[in-house]
Amino acid sequence: VLRCQRSLHWENFATVIEKGKLVTAFGNSVLYAVGATLIGTTVAALAAYVLSRNRTRFNRAVYFFIIMGIAMPTNFVTLMKVMQITHLINTQFGIILLYAAMSIPSASS
């Protein structure tokens, strides 16, 4: 049951930031977000540029092949196997690449 408290405990924030190691966590979040966005946008923009300017039959097929990824379910078991083979598992670069790859289908459209 919610009840009005006598005083406000601002030190709770400090406890959470310290105990939850939020500084490191936030730094990692920023690194993944910025890295994945940079790689994903760059790569997708390059692809979209070529595919939209050169409307050959082959390029249209490639376009729809990439667009298909929006609806395609991700298979995480085999994805982890791929990450193991490429030695990208448990690395920061690996997760950045993975997030970038996941944004490619919707970014290219």
């Binding site: 919610l2 050169n54 929006i70 078991v77 982890m80 791929v82 690449l97 790859a101 490619i104 290219s108």
Partner: protein
């Protein structure tokens, strides 16, 4: 019309990443579908279509088709509710609200910034049957909207400031629906309403809706994909319970993964595709 200015290797980066992280796992998934794995690619037995048979048979302990039905119900219901409510709010934000329009738009967009997980956690505590905010508020007599409705003093409309409820309350208080106060306000509303409301509705149906059709198609497709892939809300709010009554396809997939039945999980994930 092939041009040298747009070489194909520009697309190679996107294609390489996409092939490696999307297509390759999916192709490997086809292999997984017809096998039974004890450990991840250590001990593999060929079982043919047994995984498919397990999912489509009802007598196999788990009723997988029920999860599919849950998912479909969730998808259709959320598409309808989201589109109707959001469209109404959007019309209001662009036409109805004059003052502080940008402020209202920011407020409307704010939930998109919050992670779904946090929202679900907050709602889990609100909807808790024993200690949640919703039920405790309902239980208090004459407290809040539902309390007022339950207490039978006035209808929900009265709590909302609706005119109908206002009238009913007056009738309750002094048995006369035509007291001066009420008649005055009723006259003023009846004079205004018939001239604007049907016209606005007609304008919405004849002009706004046809022009919105392309946008509505896109949002419906996106909502459909989200609904079929729903996982986080269900996982946090009910975790598929009570029993497995509210499991959706993706929470069932998660469950199979954690039991190590990768083949069944992969087969389930193809159902949505």
């Amino acid at each position: 019309m092939k041009s040298k200015a747009y070489p194909f290797y520009f697309a190679s980066g996107a294609l390489a990443l996409y092939l490696l992280f999307f297509v390759l796992p999916s192709v490997m998934g086809f292999y997984l579908r017809v096998h039974r794995l004890e450990q991840l690619f250590v001990e593999v037995n060929f079982v043919g279509l047994d995984n498919f048979r397990l999912i489509f048979s009802s007598g196999s302990g788990q009723n997988y088709l029920r999860f599919v039905r849950n998912t479909v119900v969730f998808t259709i219901a959320t598409i309808l509710l989201k589109t109707v409510i959001a469209l109404g709010l959007a019309v209001l934000l662009t036409n109805g609200i004059r003052r502080l329009a940008y402020f209202h738009r920011v407020v409307m967009y704010l939930p998109a910034v919050l992670p779904m997980l946090v929202v679900s956690l907050v709602f889990k505590s609100i909807l808790n049957p024993a200690t949640g905010l919703l039920n405790t508020t309902c239980a208090q007599p004459r407290a809040g909207l539902y309390g007022a409705a339950l207490a039978g003093r006035c209808d929900v409309g009265a709590a909302l400031g609706d005119r109908r409820g206002h009238l009913a309350r007056h009738r309750l208080h002094h048995g006369d629906p035509d007291c001066g106060h009420c008649r005055r306000s009723r006259r003023s509303t009846t004079k205004r309403r018939p001239s604007t409301a049907p016209a606005a509705l007609a304008a919405f149906r004849r002009i706004t809706l046809p022009l919105m059709m392309p946008v509505l198609t896109v949002t419906t497709v996106l909502n459909l994909l989200y609904g079929l892939k729903v996982f986080d809300i269900v996982f946090v709010l009910t975790n598929g319970g009570p029993g497995r009554a509210t499991d959706t396809v993706y929470t069932a997939i998660f469950d199979e993964f954690s039991k190590g039945r990768y083949g069944v999980a992969t087969t389930l994930s193809t159902l949505c595709f």
